[in-house]
Symmetry: C2
Subunit: 243 residues, 2 copies
C-alpha cells in the first residue's frame, strides 16, 4: 500500500464515521450516542493500550496448508487473537533450519496469506541457526528460507524467515489520538521493577479496523519482564521518558 492509498483508505474511513455521527467527539461528550460508536478497542471514550508478546509463529498460504496437512485441509481456529478476524490455528509445524537444527512445534496463525512466512525472535533464530534479518511482516524479499514439516508433507521455503520487528496495530482514530500516521515510528515504555525498558522503533501499522496493540517478541518481553510490568506507555516522540 503506498502513501496515496493509505490516505484514501483513511479518508474513506473518517468520512464513513462522520456520517455515522462518531467523528470528532468522544463518547464521554455524546452520551446520547453511547459507547457502541467508539472506535475499535476504545474503552470509556479513549484508546486502551494493550502490549502483547508475539511468540514465534508461522503464516501459510492455502497451498502450503494442503501440502503440510493434506489435500482439502484448511486452518482450524483454536483461539481468537485480540485483533478481530485473526486466530491461532490448531495446527503446528516443525521448522527445520540448516545443519538440521529444528523447532518441533510452531503455531500457525490464521487466516492464510498470499505468502508463507516464519516469524522468530532472535533467540529462536540462534536455536535454528538461521540468520534472520529484522523485518516487518510481509517484507520478505531476500530473507532466508527453511523447511516446514507437517504431518502429511513438507515445504521448502525459499525465503520468508524473519526476525519480527516491533510494531503497533491501531485504527485511524487511535492514530489521530496520538498524532501519528501509518509508517511512523513510536516509542513504548514498559515500567517493571528493576528492568524498566524503552523500545524505540515501534512501527505504526494503522488501518480501519485494528485495535490498539503493540507486538513485541519474546526476547523483548523477557528483557522488560512484561508479565510483571506496572505500566505501559506509548508515545509519539522522544522515548516515553517525558523529560
Amino acid at each position: 500500500m503506498n502513501a496515496t492509498q493509505i490516505d484514501r483508505a483513511r479518508i474513506e474511513s473518517l468520512v464513513r464515521r462522520a456520517i455515522a455521527g462518531g467523528l470528532g467527539t468522544s463518547s464521554a461528550s455524546r452520551p446520547d450516542i453511547g459507547l457502541s460508536h467508539d472506535p475499535p478497542g476504545w474503552v470509556d471514550g479513549k484508546p486502551n493500550l494493550r502490549v502483547s508478546i508475539s511468540a514465534r509463529h508461522v503464516h501459510l498460504t492455502d497451498e502450503h496448508v494442503e501440502i503440510l496437512f493434506g489435500a482439502g485441509s484448511v486452518l482450524e481456529p483454536d483461539k481468537d487473537l485480540y485483533q478481530d478476524g485473526f486466530y491461532a490455528a490448531k495446527q503446528t509445524v516443525m521448522i527445520v533450519g540448516p545443519r538440521r537444527r529444528m523447532l518441533p512445534s510452531v503455531r500457525v496463525l490464521g487466516p492464510t496469506r498470499g505468502a508463507s512466512q516464519v516469524e522468530l525472535a532472535f533467540t529462536d533464530s540462534i536455536s535454528l541457526g538461521i540468520d534472520a534479518p529484522v523485518r516487518h511482516s510481509g517484507h520478505i524479499d531476500g530473507t532466508p528460507g527453511c523447511v516446514l514439516v507437517g504431518p502429511v508433507g513438507s515445504v521448502q521455503l525459499e525465503q520468508g524467515v524473519i526476525w519480527a520487528a516491533r510494531h503497533v496495530h491501531m485504527n485511524y482514530f487511535d492514530a489521530d489520538h496520538f498524532g501519528v500516521s501509518n509508517g511512523d515510528m513510536m516509542q513504548l515504555k514498559v515500567t517493571s521493577h528493576e528492568c524498566t525498558t524503552v523500545f524505540d522503533d515501534v512501527l505504526v501499522r494503522a488501518d480501519e479496523a485494528a485495535k490498539l496493540e503493540v507486538h513485541i517478541d519474546t526476547d523483548e518481553g523477557n528483557a522488560c519482564f512484561l508479565d510483571g510490568a506496572s505500566k505501559v506507555e506509548l508515545t509519539k516522540g522522544g522515548c516515553g521518558c517525558h523529560q
Copy 2:
C-alpha cells in the same frame, strides 16, 4: 557496604591517585605523565564504554568446587573476562530445576565466592521452570534454589538462583566523569537498526579497580541486537534520548 564505607573507600582511592599525580587532569592535558596513569579502562584520557552480554553462569564456593569436581579441585581459568582478575573457568555444571528440567552445561566463573549463586536470563529461568527474581549479584536471600551436578558430585543449593539485574561496573574516576555514585541508577541506550532500546535501572557498581562495563543478560542483548548495534550511550539521568 554502607554509604559511609563507600565514601571512605572512594576518598582513599582519590587521595592515592592524587598522590600518584593522576587526579583531575586527563592524559590529553598531561602528556608528560602519559597514558599509564589513566584510570583502569580509560582510552585517550576518557572512559571507554563496553557493553557485554552476561550469559547464564554460576559462581561457586571453594567447598562446592571440591564437592562437584573432586577433593582438592580448584577452578581452572580458561578465558579472562574484561574485568581484571575475573575469568571463565574450564569447569561447567549441570543445573537441575524442579520437575527435572535442566540446563546441561553452564559455565562457572572465577574466582570462587563466599556463597554459590546461579545467574540466569528470564528465558533460562523459564526453561528450568524456576521462578527466579530480578536481583543484583550477592542479594540472594529468599531466592529459589536448585541442584548443581558436576562430574564428581552434586550440591543442593537452598537459595541463590537469580535473574541477574542490569548493572554497570566502573571505577571512581568513571563515576566522577558521569557524576554518579555507587548504588545510583543510570540508563543505557543501544542504537540498532529497527530495534533501538533504552534500558533504565542500570545499577552503578563502583569500586577502585573496575573498568567501565555494562552487563546485560542474553534476553536484553537479543532484544536490542547488541551484536549489530551502531552506538551505545550511558547517561546519568533521563533515558539517553537527550531530549
